[in-house]
Symmetry: C2
Subunit: 197 residues, 2 copies
Amino acid sequence: MSNERLTQQMAFLLEADKLKTILRRTPLTDNSRQENSAEHSWHLALAALTLSEYAPPGLNLARVLELVVVHDLVEIDAGDTFAYDLKGHEDKALREQAAADRLFSLLPHDQAVQLRERWDEFEAHTTIEAKFANALDRLQALLQNLGAGGGSWSAHGVTRAQVLRRMGPVEDALPEVWPFVIGIIDRYCAIGAIAES
Amino acid sequence: MSNERLTQQMAFLLEADKLKTILRRTPLTDNSRQENSAEHSWHLALAALTLSEYAPPGLNLARVLELVVVHDLVEIDAGDTFAYDLKGHEDKALREQAAADRLFSLLPHDQAVQLRERWDEFEAHTTIEAKFANALDRLQALLQNLGAGGGSWSAHGVTRAQVLRRMGPVEDALPEVWPFVIGIIDRYCAIGAIAES
């Protein structure tokens, strides 16, 4: 082990601390404040442990955990782009690629390549692990809004069609969970927390 | 799949959201606020991915990730016990056992047993995965205090002997990282952020 290698690893871990200051639009379920992207990432990991039985056979759960742990790191530079912000999504990919270039390169080269591959895999939505991780990412936001009584849906006038589109990866990757999602959308439309149109 | 099973799993994930409100004594590295136990757990998972090469051969990294994801859940009921709070540690085990009984039993029985086993394993410090996870838990607090320029050490008048004892699991599980730890302790003693005695 060279000191240089460990020094780079520690610098990366110190830089990663900034993810705790990146705020999402979703609130905590007690509505006390907005959720941050670090605690959100932990919640996805717990959701992966809890809901893996709904994924297709052969899921590599360890890989899913690796994907969710790194999936939002780029927000340290690129910020969180609100799910329903069309303008923000125009340059989201470019901003996040630049962030990934900088952040992962803090690590020793072999690890930079390895963790960057995990992030690329999450973004590509092609492997069953990435599909499952992305579905959890959508589902967890729904749970936060459910717990908070409307959350970012009611705060931003989001419509049923927008939520249905956003939750699409859950229908694809976790079909058994989909009726639960539809049930919540129906309920939150009925109370006006999600706009019908 | 029964609806009852999914309902229990979702109730557990909603309850777990409360871990984001449990504050530790360690600050964020920008000193803007105290760290919470959910984002801390995420940081441990990232540290596991980054530092696994220093663990003994044969480490099951997936298992480590599972341990760190659940290791602090009991704090939802039991609160965070400050590392250097001797009085708080007298009944810590009892408070946390009761919390584990309640929280994991929100899950379907088979999963309650499985995740409780992970928590018990972390607490027992016997497997190489638990030793590695516990060492990361100590090391991450050191990194937070390092980044924050003293953090909970200077705020609470912690001594060199206390920090050395607290960091013991790092010396045992990550001997190659130990000189880095000693270097930081020396440096923070020199500037008075850790008391010599």
